[in-house]
Symmetry: C2
């Protein structure tokens, strides 16, 4: 990969994270990268293709980690379902450990860039989201279903929808909601927040099943 291409990708992360997709401008990106305006269309083809390439470049490895870690656990158990909390942990950690980086170094911006751009209602992002996350979605859907034999399929689908929405919402709105409280929450350890979030989603999901089972028993 050319040096110019790398510089553009790095600058694009920051620009997309700060301004969203529609708000980001080719001129700002190239200026930040210290390259010529035309180089984006030369190296990537268009603004959309630039985002697509940044998206894949950053999230494909993350998703591979998620899939391989889950498969490790599954093989380790030889057929027995992976516990729900562990499934959620494997889904959450690879992304959120990047957001909640240590205090001495700034968090990578591409997580925010992707989360914020995916919130924009462009048709492009519907396609891109599927392109990048479809396999992860289906694999973890099966794992969550396996972990809860008593839940029906539609319920699990709803649960995963809740979980993913929470995750994207957290990425997009954490810093902003944080400001409601006046002082930041990051005094807490990164690992503690991460664990609390995993617990939040896990408890939320298993709470749904518990309540629903009660309904069926009645």
């Amino acid at each position: 990969m050319t040096e110019t291409k790398i510089k553009i990708l790095e600058a694009a992360e920051v620009e997309f994270a700060d301004n969203g997709f529609n708000g980001a401008s080719i001129r700002n990106i190239t200026q930040r990268a210290g390259v010529n305006i035309a180089s984006i269309n030369y190296h990537f083809g268009s603004k959309e293709s630039l985002f697509r390439e940044m998206f894949h470049f950053r999230f494909d490895p993350i998703n591979e980690v998620r899939l391989s870690r889950l498969r490790e656990e599954q093989e380790l158990r030889g057929g027995a379902p992976v516990p729900l909390e562990l499934v959620i942990r494997i889904l959450v950690v690879p992304v959120f450990e990047l957001l909640l980086s240590e205090a001495d170094q700034p968090p990578p911006r591409f997580v925010l860039a992707v989360a914020r751009c995916l919130s924009e209602p462009l048709e492009l992002f519907t396609r891109l989201g599927r392109e990048v996350f479809q396999e992860v979605y289906e694999t973890f859907f099966s794992a969550i279903r396996d972990a809860q034999p008593q839940a029906d399929v539609k319920q699990v689908r709803l649960q995963l929808n809740f979980a993913v929405s929470s995750m994207v919402g957290m990425l997009t709105h954490f810093s902003r909601i944080e400001q409601f409280a006046g002082d930041p929450l990051f005094h807490r350890q990164k690992d503690e927040i991460l664990q609390q979030f995993i617990t939040f989603i896990t408890s939320g999901i298993s709470g749904c099943v518990a309540v629903n089972s009660q309904h069926e028993v009645r």
Copy 2:
């Protein structure tokens, strides 16, 4: 309120919901409303002010409902804390019953408009979010804290952050994530989805406290 102003507000909801704030254009809004381009600046001053007015116009009544219902329950109990699930229900229902409207009528668009625009990283929306939601945030923060005497303040703040993120994420991404599954989830009754979501958040929050209490016991 003038007829023109109302027509603009209605058109703006659709345009903002479909394209976000940066993606929405004054020309599309006025064209959809059937009014002159200049009328937005005449009646509202600017695109930003138009959004601000739409935001307040729609969400101030919703927030008043949330606050008054919570106070009703509090007075009904005369000092005793309102149960967590009921607090969450009062927070969630006034907004989500609009999103999950019945099949025979399309859902109002301003909910999506606000959720999507608030996801855009413009400084404007940090201010606007506080302007509209600060009081609700603080009031429900107290109620959630009261409902869980064993939880400490910072933990409750984190929980509310999780809850609000989930809510905004749900509004923004529900329809898109739904498409991962192939067929829509809305076969289920509106009330059932709503109850499941309330249970998800409630269980998530109380799950955090339970785990944390265990930690402290050790």
